[in-house]
């Protein structure tokens, strides 16, 4: 079963600017976790926002499986916590707005916050939390609606390494336990390899390289130390830097013209 089908996608923000994605097409199966990777400015965040429906494509279509479209959740690049609400109230916000807030939901929110290590900060306000803690609250807020697909825009970039690993494993655990499907944007090649079944390597010429079937069945932090893992990271890193070089060249050529 496919969960998302993208066809001939293009997006331009102004009539004279070059369109992003140049007719990108791909189909995502419902058991695939996808990572969007690419140099700055290649449109990773825009693609994620298009998938969520926060932006509309200039041409082409995005079709989300109707069974899943109401069960999508989004984590922005910034925590975007409501400053006058406590940690717990921030997590409960989506349920309040959809009128599903009840004592059971509150218990679930508390449990979620405990799970991400903020069980003792329920009544704290966002400005009393560090950037990393705020990001974790944002993640909990996205999970409280029990989504089937969660879209994350560089969610772990602001976290310290240990917390980042912990959150990565939490995502893997949710994927295994709840069949949660995630699509995420990252700058970290090792994070991309560790978390995803499939990587979409984007560049600004619109060519997206689709890298499938990463060979790891079991994923845990020690995996990152194995030669097999590091070989793949190296391979993708060189792909990535080739892409960046060609981008720079084409940019330079464009600016000469």
């Amino acid at each position: 079963m496919s969960s998302i089908e993208v066809q001939q996608l293009e997006k331009s923000f102004s009539s004279d600017a070059q369109a992003l994605f140049a007719g990108l097409s791909f189909t995502l199966d419902s058991d695939e976790c996808l990572c969007l990777l690419g140099p700055s400015g290649c449109g990773k965040t825009t693609l994620l926002r298009l998938l969520m429906g926060l932006e509309q494509p200039s041409s082409g279509t995005i079709h989300v499986n109707p069974a899943l479209s109401a069960k999508m959740s989004y984590v922005f690049q910034e925590p975007r916590l409501v400053p006058w609400r406590t940690c717990l109230e921030n997590v409960l916000l989506p349920l309040e707005l959809t009128a599903e807030n009840n004592p059971a939901a509150r218990d679930r929110a508390v449990e979620l916050l405990q799970k991400i290590g903020l069980g003792d900060r329920l009544a704290h306000f966002p400005d009393q939390l560090s950037g990393g803690m705020q990001m974790r609250v944002a993640l909990a807020r996205a999970l409280i609606t029990q989504p089937k697909i969660i879209l994350l825009d560089e969610p772990f970039a602001a976290l310290d390494e240990r917390t980042r690993f912990h959150m990565q494993d939490l995502l893997l655990e949710l994927k295994a336990r709840l069949q949660l499907q995630y699509i995420f944007v990252t700058h970290s090649i090792s994070e991309a390899v560790y978390l995803s079944d499939r990587i979409l390597l984007l560049d600004n010429t619109g060519a997206a390289r689709d890298i499938r079937s990463l060979p790891f069945k079991e994923r845990n932090q020690p995996l990152k130390l194995t030669p097999a893992f590091n070989d793949i990271v190296k391979e993708y890193s060189s792909l990535f830097s080739d892409m960046e070089d060609s981008m720079k060249k084409s940019n330079a050529a464009q600016s000469k013209q």
């Binding site: 926060l54 922005f76 975007r80 409501v82 006058w84 959809t98 306000f125």
Partner: protein
């Protein structure tokens, strides 16, 4: 506790010492007859007059305070609700707001005689005068606060498809609260001016007391009236601080200016 007291003393002591110095010099100037006491009565003389005339002064202060509270209260209700209307109906804002600004630019002293014609002598005119001058800052601040709602938070709310009312009550009004508080504080000072000006023309309260004392060449009583009106303004601002502090004691963000 002791440190708090020490900090408080360190913070406030210079102002008290300065005040004591000023009053001593003033007392000295008058006692030495460098300035005639019918032009500038000494602080002690003003104090004596205040004590002696206390029942009258107190009644006048009470009446002025009542008018201020009427005017300010009405401004708060009408200002906030019309800001909400202007915010939700842009056409109404474009049609009516320019005239509100015009109203604001006409000096109250010029309108006051009209008010006497409409409302007659006495408190209704004074209330109206306090209301007119204090309306605009509350309205304008509330409108700004509503318009300055963080677009990122608005986008976050949009993810959960809120109703119009949810957006207003859970996002826009809380965002505007710090602005409304600032508006009330500005308006409080203006309401005192409006009430006293109203009383000059329509009679009653401290305005009339000051005016009557002037015609009787009772400069000491004029000073008493002036001091009482500034004490009134100060205690009003202090009360507003106290009340907003109490109201939002659990929401530090909302009382941040």
């Amino acid at each position: 506790m002791i440190t708090t007291i020490r900090l408080w003393i360190a913070d406030k002591l210079p102002a008290w010492i300065f005040l004591a110095g000023l009053l001593s010099i003033w007392q000295l100037i008058v006692a030495q007859k460098w300035v005639a006491s019918y032009l500038l009565p000494s602080p002690l003389q003003i104090f004596d007059t205040t004590l002696e005339m206390w029942p009258d002064i107190f009644a006048a202060t009470l009446s002025t305070a009542q008018s201020i509270l009427w005017g300010l209260g009405l401004s708060l209700i009408i200002g906030v609700s019309s800001a909400l209307i202007f915010f939700s109906i842009p056409l109404a804002r474009r049609a009516v707001l320019p005239f509100c600004i015009f109203f604001q630019t006409v000096p109250i002293i010029a309108i006051a005689p009209l008010l006497v014609i409409w409302f007659g002598y006495g408190q209704p005119t004074v209330n109206a005068s306090a209301f007119i001058v204090s309306l605009f800052p509350i309205l304008a601040n509330t409108l700004t606060g509503l318009q300055e709602t963080d677009p990122q938070l608005k986008e976050l709310f949009r993810l959960y498809k809120p109703s119009r009312w949810q957006l207003v009550f859970k996002l826009q009004i809380p965002s505007a609260i710090p602005y409304i508080i600032t508006g009330i504080k500005i308006s409080a000072g203006l309401a005192v001016v409006g009430a006293i000006v109203g009383e000059f023309i329509a009679g009653g309260g401290l305005g009339s007391l000051i005016d009557a004392a002037r015609t009787q060449q009772r400069v000491d009583l004029v000073f008493s009236g002036v001091f009482m009106s500034s004490a009134l303004a100060l205690s009003l601002v202090y009360t507003i601080n106290l009340m907003t502090g109490l109201l939002f004691r659990n929401r530090p963000y909302l009382r941040k200016q």
